[in-house]
């Protein structure tokens, strides 16, 4: 048993290394074990609460953080570390809802154009100084700087000022429903102004202290080796169970081996195939949680995909379950909307009900009726003879998806052709219209950082650079604009499901699967969040041993 498993790991590693060195190759799930049943993945946002303290945890990242100044360079590796060290005005909860945090309360005016933030007065930074309204205002202005990453979250902001000892007032050009969600993300981090200034240009690089107020403080960053955070004794909130977390980084086989041998206690697996290779390992538990990430097919306006009937036909004929199982070890879930369930940060029941209704247009495995309807749509559109060019890179998951798309096209009487590009070039499909000039369909993926579906559906606006197929619907544009300015959750959820219906009906993008957050953890430990909130919530503070003793 052990031998076959090792052989599987070895192959996974061999192929993964090929990818790492730039040759064609792929990360693939272990072939000798049955994949998880994709349709039955149970997504939970939290893991059972920990009961006992832990002196030190070894955590793995998939890459070294670029910088710990998330304004300059925000990567998930940096966020996983920093979310335990830094705090935000609002806090994303494991269930993906948003709660006031460093801001005790936020009060929107009746017209929605003014937001008054009442700040906590008991927060201290790690250097012992008190958090003041000046720190908050300075931080917000730093985030809003056009050179900084979060600048786009402040597009609707007209002015920000200090209006009291513990009060900040933000004025908007137009009401902005997503602004509070942004404050639970990187746009809401409160920096210790004096500290950031002291570090100057070096802020966020190895050897510099942090400038935050969270449960952990940054004690060491040895460039190229490890990052250590330690529980801050004078933390203004509750003390965490785990005293110290040491982060190291590794990819593919090295990551799998480190977890397997116990050299690392846990990791958030960014690639489902890494987790698939570790399934069934007795010393490790796996938790799957809601995330906004999804696998999608993004059509362009070049060839046959221009016709929405063809896009629908493809959606009906696609074997999503097959893709999930052979491409991703069953660790992604066939899905009927282009954004994962982690985006449902409010009114979950409304969104869940709407999702169920969409399932008919995006079956997990197409049946005879689906195929008949798809063929009818193709016939009605005049059955284009030019092959559909499918753009992908050489990774296992995308290759399987591209082949499944080609199979689906064949099943309904169309031709498909796969165009494979290197990974470095793949990202250009997203940014450069010319780069996608010779493909009809991109095997893509997407996620959003704010837990609100409305934050996704602006991709369907007629002016959006991500609306490649040229979908134009004045009513849709109006609804999105309205939803973006609607602060009431119930009302916005209603608008959002309406928008979603229109987006899916027009098949602006074709949904394939939702990609859960995957937490791989030593079986003796528990506690961290298992939803996408691990990027914005102090997950390490909950980490600890299962039972006392």
């Amino acid at each position: 048993m052990t031998t076959t498993r090792t052989a599987a790991v070895a192959w996974l590693a061999a192929l993964a290394l090929l990818t790492a060195t730039g040759c064609s190759g792929a990360d693939r799930p272990a072939g000798d074990r049955a994949p998880a049943d994709a349709a039955k993945l149970d997504l939970t946002a939290t893991t059972p609460a920990a009961e006992d303290a832990l002196a030190k945890a070894n955590w793995l990242l998939e890459d070294e953080p670029d910088s710990l100044d998330l304004d300059a360079q925000g990567t998930s590796a940096g966020r996983i570390v920093l979310t335990n060290v830094c705090e935000r005005l609002y806090q994303l909860q494991p269930d993906m809802s948003t709660k006031p945090h460093l801001a005790e309360k936020g009060q929107a005016s009746a017209d929605g154009k003014t937001l008054t933030l009442g700040l906590r007065d008991d927060v201290t930074f790690h250097d012992g100084s008190k958090m003041t309204a000046d720190d908050v205002l300075w931080s917000l202005k730093r985030h809003a700087d056009p050179d900084m990453e979060q600048a786009d979250e402040f597009e609707n902001v007209a002015a920000m000022e200090k209006t009291g000892e513990h009060e900040i007032t933000v004025r908007f050009k137009e009401p902005d429903a997503l602004f509070l969600k942004a404050l639970a993300g990187d746009a809401g981090i409160v920096w210790n102004k004096a500290r950031v200034r002291e570090s100057g240009k070096e802020f966020g690089t190895p050897g510099q202290p942090d400038a935050c107020s969270g449960p952990y403080e940054l004690t060491r960053w040895d460039s190229g080796d490890s990052i250590t955070i330690r529980a801050h004794d004078a933390y203004w909130g509750e003390q965490p169970l785990t005293r110290e977390v040491v982060f190291k980084w590794a990819t593919d086989s090295a990551l799998v081996n480190a977890l397997k041998t116990g050299a690392a206690d846990g990791a958030y697996a960014e690639s489902p195939n890494t987790a698939a290779a570790l399934r069934g390992d007795k010393g490790l538990s796996q938790y799957y949680g809601p995330s906004t990430a999804s696998l999608v097919l993004i059509p362009t306006a070049r060839g046959g995909m221009q016709d929405d009937r063809i896009r629908h036909a493809l959606s009906l004929a696609l074997d999503r379950k097959g893709i999930a199982e052979s491409g991703f070890g069953g660790l992604v879930q066939p899905w009927a909307s282009p954004v994962g369930s982690g985006a449902w940060g409010y009114e979950k029941d409304t969104f869940a009900a709407a999702q169920k209704k969409l399932a008919a247009g995006a079956p997990a495995s197409p049946d005879a009726d689906d195929l008949a309807e798809a063929k009818r749509l193709v016939k009605e559109s005049g059955a284009p003879t030019e092959p559909v060019v499918i753009g992908t890179d050489a990774s296992q998951g995308r290759t399987v998806t591209a082949n499944a798309v080609r199979a689906a096209l064949q099943r309904i009487g169309l031709k498909g052709e796969i165009k494979t590009v290197p990974t470095a070039q793949f990202e250009e499909f997203y940014s450069d219209e010319q780069a996608r000039g010779d493909i009809d369909l991109l095997v893509g993926d997407w996620y959003i950082s704010k837990a609100d579906p409305v934050g996704f559906y602006d991709n369907g606006l007629s002016t959006s650079p991500n609306n490649w197929v040229g979908f134009k619907d004045a009513a849709y544009d109006r609804l999105v604009k309205k939803a973006l300015g609607t602060l009431d959750d119930t009302e916005r959820a209603g608008l959002a499901t309406d928008i979603q219906q229109r987006f899916v009906e027009a098949a602006v993008w074709i949904p394939v699967a939702q990609v859960p957050t995957i937490l791989v953890l030593d079986s003796e430990l528990t506690g961290p969040t298992s939803s996408q909130a691990y990027l914005y919530y102090p997950w390490a503070a909950g980490l600890g041993k299962k039972k006392a003793g």
Partner: protein, 322 residues
Amino acid sequence: MTTVHAIAGRISRRVAGLLATLFAASFVIFAAVYAAPGDPAVFLAGGRDKLTPERLAQVRAQYHLDEPLVVQYGRWLWDCVHFDLGRSFKYSDQVADLITARLPTTLQLVAYASVLFVVLGVGAGILAAVKRSTWVDSAVVGGTTLAASVPSFVAAIALVSLFGVQLGWFPVTGAGDGAMDTLHHLTLPACSLALGALAVISRVTRQAMADAAASDHVEAARASGVPERDIVRRHVLRNALGPIVTMCGLVMAGMLAGTVVVETAFGISGIGSLLVGAINTHDFPVAQAVLLLMVTGYIVVTTLVDLVHPLLDPRVKEATAR
């Protein structure tokens, strides 16, 4: 006096040659990284949802990516001659700091692997040459042929799954702290790196010794009754050292640039992974600095080999003196 002049002249010629090579290499490298597929702004924009034309333009302006190649290169060169390697696009840290943090690990790895392949490779080669046409020779040739055909990443995976995961004798990731721990951590990586080189070196050693053994003066020595042991040591091996040392130097210099695969397999952050990461994300300042460092390393090692040669083989000295 003349010898001092001659030496000074030789050194200055070498230094000038080095600088010219570096200059040419730096431009070629810069142009190559510039021309590689992929748009650096895409990696710097901060996520898919931020890939709007406006944000990309903003990023390009911020990092001077909108300027022509020659202007960007000139800017880099100007800073470089002022001893400023610049800041990494990706890490926003000083390039010099990034390299200093990672170089020791890679150097240790290469040094360890070099010790392994020199000692074992030359040893196996001598053994095969001395026991020529016996089963020992066949075993060495066969074994090294097999070793040469195993790419280092396959060796890495085989070693790690056997000695790391199954037997648990060696750690599977990281580079360790402190001398003994580092040795423990780097054993498997060094072995996988040395395996291919070991084959090449033993083959070269065997062949060079066979050639030397066939020469007239060895025959003469043998005829005049010099003990076989002394013949091997003083005549055969001595004369064979030139090609062996040259080959060892070249292989070692090549290793400096070839650690990435092994670093990835063992989760070691060294110069190799830094370089590949930098090339993939178009991090010009880092790629440029690391590649130049590798070119310099290669030149230094090969120059050292050139300098050592005359000491090993008096015939070379005479040739250069003339």
